[in-house]
Amino acid sequence: MVIDSIKNGIVIDHIQAGRGMKLLSYLSIDNENDTVAIIMNASSKKRGKKDIIKIENVDSNSFNMDVVGLIDPDATVNIIENEEIKAKVRPTLPARVENVIKCKNPRCVTSSERGLKNIFVLNDEENREYRCVYCDEIVSMDKE
């Protein structure tokens, strides 16, 4: 399958196969204006199979790198300018994320208080576990 390279924007490469759609759902994509391609199960020397996401004309400064780190810290983010890779970024597991993970505890105050941000902090790096700062609900990003 051939998908054109992009002129300006971001390519998220080496996403673990199967995590691409999930990553896409966590990224705040503008459905009306962004041009996005997702390639699933592409062949990969490193991983056997991988997913790739290409987003055209997205501003790399406003791009939420934390989300990539959260879903797949082994992915790479390539920032493309004039069809060339300007920078390669390896995301890390963020220490804290705001309004990315939604607390699923029905008794959590975030389910009822208007305008309250969902804030999760890294609880266990090895198991990629995050903890809601309000109710202490644990979310494992491996199981999400």
């Binding site: 105050v109 208080e113 309000y134 109710c135 202490d136």
Partner: protein, 308 residues
């Protein structure tokens, strides 16, 4: 220094602050007259978004005995909350009237939201199935009073360990003390939540064992902490009724326990401790209530920075 700080969970106090809290409570018990006017001119706002008799009255009594005044609501339906006001707005308003706010809320983390928006200290008086620090200080004070120590103890926690916020707060606090062995006695449906097991107990390295029958561990215990299976924490009546009677302490079971074991309960009890146990000298749940008021007096003096 606790002055001006909110107390949302037991760990908000350092070991030194906790020790100081208990010593102040000791001093209040020994010299109540010294503290009778410590809070003159101060007002405590009690925001109880769900029913509570014991905790609300304990805090109110504590403030009145310090010479302060109390205002607030004991039912969200009689406040502006019923009109849909947010916690943030309620707190910013009440903070203009009160010097300290005591809050109980069915939503977990609500007191943290309150503290984020408050100009005055907020004390969490219970949030959903989450934390209940003043009860924990009461529990620790009771163990300290009747066992003479807070380390080298085997402590049984029995009943609803999933939704029982007093248990969660107590476990968290006990991880700070040396050589504590926890025996967690509950039906499979009401075991401790994952975050307590993994993030608190396993992480701290505290010795713990989960068991299904009280009798299996009773002879080893120095402290037995009973809890009620709470109806309001269940989504359906059937589960509640099925599990309510699972763990009942009676005189026959008490015969298996050590002579110097103490029985505690955050109260109110339903039927998990048979009335016949009340006369047993090892039953200390009503002493716990009395000590709770003194601990809350000490806590109010600390967060308000009052001098005796």
């Amino acid at each position: 220094m606790l002055k001006g700080k909110s107390v949302l969970e037991p760990m908000d106090l350092t070991m030194e602050e906790m020790q100081d809290l208990f010593e102040t409570a000791d001093d209040i018990i020994a010299n109540p007259e010294k503290y009778a006017h410590a809070a003159d001119g101060k007002i405590m706002g009690t925001l109880f978004y769900e029913p509570s008799t014991r905790t609300r009255l304990s805090f109110a009594s504590a403030m009145l005995r310090l010479g302060g005044q109390v205002m607030g609501f004991s039912d969200a339906s009689s406040s502006s909350v019923s009109k849909g006001e947010s916690i943030a707005d309620t707190i910013r308003t009440v903070g203009c009237f009160a010097d300290v706010i005591v809050m109980r809320h069915p939503k977990e983390g609500a007191p943290r939201v309150a503290a984020e928006h408050s100009f005055v200290p907020v004390i969490n008086a219970g949030d959903g199935g989450h934390q209940h620090p003043s009860q924990t200080f009461t529990d620790l004070m009771t163990i300290r009073e009747y066992k003479g120590r807070l380390d080298n103890l085997t402590i049984g926690l029995c009943g609803d360990l999933m939704f029982g916020r007093t248990v969660h707060s107590l476990i968290k606090a006990l991880t700070r003390f040396k050589n504590i062995k926890l025996k967690l006695i509950s039906p499979e449906e009401l075991v401790v939540p994952e975050y307590i097991r993994n993030s608190i107990m396993k992480k701290s390295g505290i010795d713990f064992e989960e068991v299904r029958h009280m009798e299996d561990v009773l002879p080893e215990l120095d402290v037995l902490y009973m809890t009620r299976v709470q109806k309001e924490r269940f989504f359906n009546e059937e589960d509640y009724v099925r599990l309510r009677d699972s763990f009942i302490l009676d005189e026959a079971k008490m015969k298996l326990a050590k002579d110097d074991m103490i029985v505690m309960h955050p109260l109110p009890r339903v039927n998990e401790i048979a009335v016949e146990v009340d006369d047993d000298p090892r039953a200390h749940y009503f002493d716990q209530v009395r000590l709770g008021m003194y601990v809350r007096m000490a806590l109010i003096t600390k967060v308000l920075g009052l001098e005796a």
